[in-house]
Amino acid sequence: MAVATESIKAKPQVTTSREVSTPVDRILNWIAYIVLTLVALAMFIPFMFSVSTSLKTNREATLPLSFGRMFWPANPTTEAYHKVFNSDIERWFLNSVIVAAVWVIARAITASMAGYAFARMQFKGKDFLFLLVLATMMIPGMVTIVPKFLILRQLGIINTYGALTIPFMADAFGIFLMRQFFESIPIELEEAARVDGASRYRMFAQIILPNSMPALTALAIFSFQGAWNAFLEPLIFINNSKLYTLPLGLAYFRQANYTEWPTMMAIAVITTVPMAIFYLVFQRWFVEGQVSSGIKG
């Protein structure tokens, strides 16, 4: 953790430490601007298309009048959105929200508790167990999907909210994140509490957790993102359109209505917007903080 933060916050950029005055530097800066702007456009255009196509009529989406008309409809219409809202999408949206909320809360609990044990307690097999937990991050989802399916079926919770949430209530990354963070909290805080006679459990609840908001926020962001975008597992575990999450609903809608681009794009926009807002609000955590294992401060 210390290593990570240091390397990220280390002095200003390599280039900034030099004077940016030579002609070569100025030319390189221009090249950088041009390339980066073009790539940023390339990243932006597909999303722009999802918005513009969602405002087109079916006909215009499949047969654009010209290259220019491809970017923006001649007569923007919200027809597709009306259609979407007449379908099950509110239900799907709600499902996504519920599932994401459960992931976020459950992982906050399991990961902070396990992370605390790995960071601060000593017991037999701890290091081995921690390695084992980390190693599971490399296991392809396809390896565990079949057993998970059978286990959930055995438990009778296939095709329920349980299938969308229970298997995901703990994850290796979250445990790792919390452990790294707890290791950075000064031990003196706990020592002081101990002198006051606090138990291990009170220490955790009253001292450690209140001091862990940055890490818990990071964890919540990742859990939300994971739940919101999850596709493979819901696809296998859910077979009832009332329980679809947004990505699943979108995939099924596509199979049933092969060429209804405006409606598909409307669902795509509705799926993306909450994530985009979330991202813009928390991007500090997403991009910057996260590289240093999600810990600010």
């Binding site: 290593v3 390397s7 090249i31 508790m113 000593q122 079949v146 795509a268």
Partner: protein
């Protein structure tokens, strides 16, 4: 607080204390892990030696209580290695990784070097580049599906600039890319294994590069910002130009991170599923069927059942582990892993190996 000068955490009584509390705190997470991760992995192995139809009644118990009926030994593995479908999926997946991993690594590195210059708007660029990485793979697949359609953006743009467009249209085109290119220079009848990814697969590969490049760039940026500035100053004084500085300083110093990005890229690309499912369903002519997609089809569609699917999944696991070990051989330093900050490692793993992009979340 005055004791702050003695940071010997390991020996602190607070740390050493309790065996029982440790397990109490681990219990919630470990109960999930035990069943759905550790248990599932072992069960996948076990299952791969059985014949188990999807619609067979009764969950997991029949496998344990009536093994005589379903135990097939190594038959699943034998059948897989004899199956043309598997080898095609293996070829497809390999091409996919061979295309995507270098492309995303190089683009990510170049973009990071450019974005690391002292220019305005660095944060903006980083935000923009990273956004695809956090978007739903299904949403992105749908958007690209439209862009690649016969009258979609890609074809229109190519026509507008006077380039030819492929026929059949992108995602319906099973022709091997290498085959087509060699055909242009008059070489025909190339062997199957050299035909390259189909045009359809290439389209999905480009989508993958588009999605993950931003993530890779952010990683490299973090690495670049940790490089010592004085080395560059010394090199500049010795008259090394920018290109040589990049080649002889930046790249060697970033080697551990490059190695890591490649590993994670391989792990991610070898699992690609979401995009295939949404965009091509393995077609045309099975040229976009990847190993992961084959697990799905064999297990949950009209395939040969869950036992057979598990065997393919285990093979996928072995392939990924092998790639990981090979990569470690090549990134020479033994302490490679320690040089990549743990946070980056875990974070990368999360983003690239999971449904994220090439991949699925959790």
């Amino acid at each position: 607080m005055a004791v702050a000068a003695t940071p010997v955490r390991r020996r602190n009584p607070i740390v050493v204390e309790d065996e029982r509390a440790g397990w109490v705190f681990l219990a919630p997470a470990m109960s999930i892990f035990l069943v759905f991760i550790f248990g599932s992995i072992l069960f996948a192995f076990y299952l791969s030696f059985h014949n188990y139809a999807l619609l067979q009644k009764g969950g997991i118990w029949p496998v344990f209580t009536d093994p005589g009926k379903t135990w097939v030994g190594f038959d699943n593995y034998r059948a897989i290695f004899k199956s043309g479908d598997f080898w095609q999926a293996f070829r497809n997946t390999t091409w996919y990784a061979l295309g995507v991993v270098p492309a995303q690594t190089i683009t990510g590195l170049v973009l990071a070097v450019l974005a690391n210059r002292a220019i305005r708007g660095r944060t903006f660029f980083r935000t923009a580049f990273y956004f695809p990485s956090i978007s739903s793979s299904v949403v992105i697949s749908i958007i690209f599906l439209w862009m690649y359609s016969a009258r979609g953006f890609v074809n229109y743009a190519l026509k507008a600039f006077g380039f030819p467009t492929p026929r059949p249209v992108w995602l319906a085109n099973p022709k091997g890319v290498v085959d087509v290119l060699l055909g242009q220079v008059g070489i025909h009848n190339v062997p199957t294994w050299l035909e390259g990814p189909s045009v359809a697969m290439l389209s999905i590969m480009m989508l993958n590069v588009w999605t993950t490049t931003g993530t890779i760039m952010v990683i490299f940026l973090a690495g670049l910002q940790g490089l010592p500035g004085d080395v560059y100053e010394a090199a500049a004084m010795d008259g090394a130009n920018r290109f040589r500085q990049f080649k002889d300083i930046t790249v060697p110093l970033l080697k551990p991170i490059i190695g890591f990005v490649i590993t994670i890229g391989l792990i991610g690309t070898f699992q690609v599923f979401d995009q295939i499912y949404v965009m091509s369903e393995g077609g045309p002519q099975k040229t976009t069927t990847t190993i992961a997609y084959m697990v799905y089809v064999e297990g949950f569609r009209q395939g040969r059942g869950l036992g057979y699917a598990s065997a393919i999944a285990i093979i996928l696991l072995v392939v990924i582990m092998t790639l990981y070990l090979i990569q470690r051989r090549f990134t020479t330093e033994r302490d490679t892993d320690r040089k990549v900050p743990g946070g980056i490692r875990a974070w990368l793993t999360l983003h690239l190996t999971r449904g994220g992009q090439g991949q699925t979340a959790r």
